[in-house]
């Protein structure tokens, strides 16, 4: 079936909404609705209109909606992406790792002088000589860096898991 032009389609919607003047209405009824494409299009637009009208109502929330919101005002403040338990476990893990590294450091495990890290060349021939690569490696310095990073992470975890929720709680209780 031939599709109606945009202009005629617009007229049909306005006809449906009762927005047409008497003259325009007459034109629509005589020209558009006398033929099948116009009649069918109006029928479909009417179905859409009826569907939307039928569902045009305000929906009622549950009776205790307001109470739930008010309860949520206090509980949500303590909600964090990191749960208390998980945060504490991570904090303990980080501190433990730092402790072990510190113990090893004080036991002198990393006291050896700068160790060259030697990478052997896989090909060795008379024609093709690849120089030996050595990277200076200071174990003590690296472990110190790791301990420093771990302590920083531990502080962030302590803040997120313990300090921030505690201060929020105090604020909400009006201290």
């Amino acid at each position: 079936m031939k599709k109606l032009s945009q202009e005629k389609d617009d007229l049909l919607i306005r006809y449906l909404d009762g927005d047409l003047s008497a003259g325009e209405k007459e034109v629509v009824e005589k020209e558009l609705l006398s033929a099948e494409p116009g009649r069918q299009r109006l029928e479909y637009l009417q179905s859409v209109h009826t569907y939307l009208k039928k569902r045009a109502r305000l929906e009622m929330p549950s009776k205790n909606f307001t109470e739930k919101v008010l309860d949520g005002l206090t509980t949500v403040q303590f909600r964090s992406s990191l749960s208390y338990k998980r945060g504490l476990l991570l904090l303990l893990g980080t501190l433990l790792a730092s402790g072990i590294a510190l113990a090893l450091l004080s036991a002198g495990v990393f006291d050896a002088p700068t160790t060259p890290l030697v990478v052997d060349a896989p090909i060795d021939s008379e024609l093709f000589k690849v120089p030996t690569i050595s990277i200076p490696f200071n174990g003590k310095l690296i472990v110190n860096g790791i301990i420093f990073l771990n302590l920083g992470l531990a502080f962030v975890l302590f803040d997120r898991t313990v300090l921030r929720p505690w201060f929020q709680k105090r604020t909400s209780m009006g201290y």
Partner: protein
């Protein structure tokens, strides 16, 4: 119904620490907020959760409300954004009972045909974008003004008017397509 001035004084009270005063605002707008969330999520439980979440967010951001717009407009945008992110987060097929259950009874053929069409318009709604679907649904609810719908979508009134007009035509187009397809499968 509370006036804008009364609303501002309630907001002042809340900002001064009177949390219980928030109940007045929640009672005033809960139906509208829930309706918006429901139209987006098409599930009562999800809509309830999203609307509550939006009210809680609005409470925590209340000091950022600059009073240049209406509180309701500001709140509805929070509800709209919260419901949209809920939909993205819990992306599962929300199936409306209205669009899945066909209750056949002793009805005339004409009535059945009408019901079928209604069912297919429900299906056709899926072809609309989120914003178009919400705009057209809220527009039909008399309690939401065109200005409110426009503010909610962050667009001007004329754009929304055109959107709604085009959405109705699109729905009729979709209905034509679905009915043609149905006729072919018979």
């Amino acid at each position: 119904m509370i006036t804008t001035q009364q609303e501002y004084s309630i907001i002042d009270k809340i900002l001064a620490g009177d949390q219980q005063s928030y109940a007045v605002l929640v009672d005033q707008y809960k139906t509208y907020a829930f309706t918006i969330a429901f139209k987006i999520l098409d599930s009562r439980s999800e809509a309830e959760e999203a609307a509550q979440d939006a009210f809680i967010k609005a409470f925590h951001y209340l000091k950022t409300f600059n009073r240049q717009a209406k509180f309701s407009t500001w709140l509805y945008r929070i509800v709209f954004n919260t419901a949209i992110s809920y939909k993205r987060k819990h992306k599962h097929a929300f199936q409306s009972i209205e669009t899945t259950v066909i209750a056949y009874s002793d009805q005339s053929d004409k009535q059945l045909e009408r019901d079928d069409k209604q069912l297919f318009v429900g299906k056709a709604m899926d072809a609309l974008s989120e914003a178009d679907r919400l705009a057209i649904q809220l527009f039909y609810i008399q309690e939401f003004s065109l200005e409110e719908v426009a503010d909610l979508l962050g667009q001007n009134v004329n754009t929304v008017k055109v959107r709604i007009h085009r959405a109705r035509q699109r729905l009729a187009d979709e209905l034509t397509r679905i009915l043609k397809q149905e006729a072919l499968t018979l």
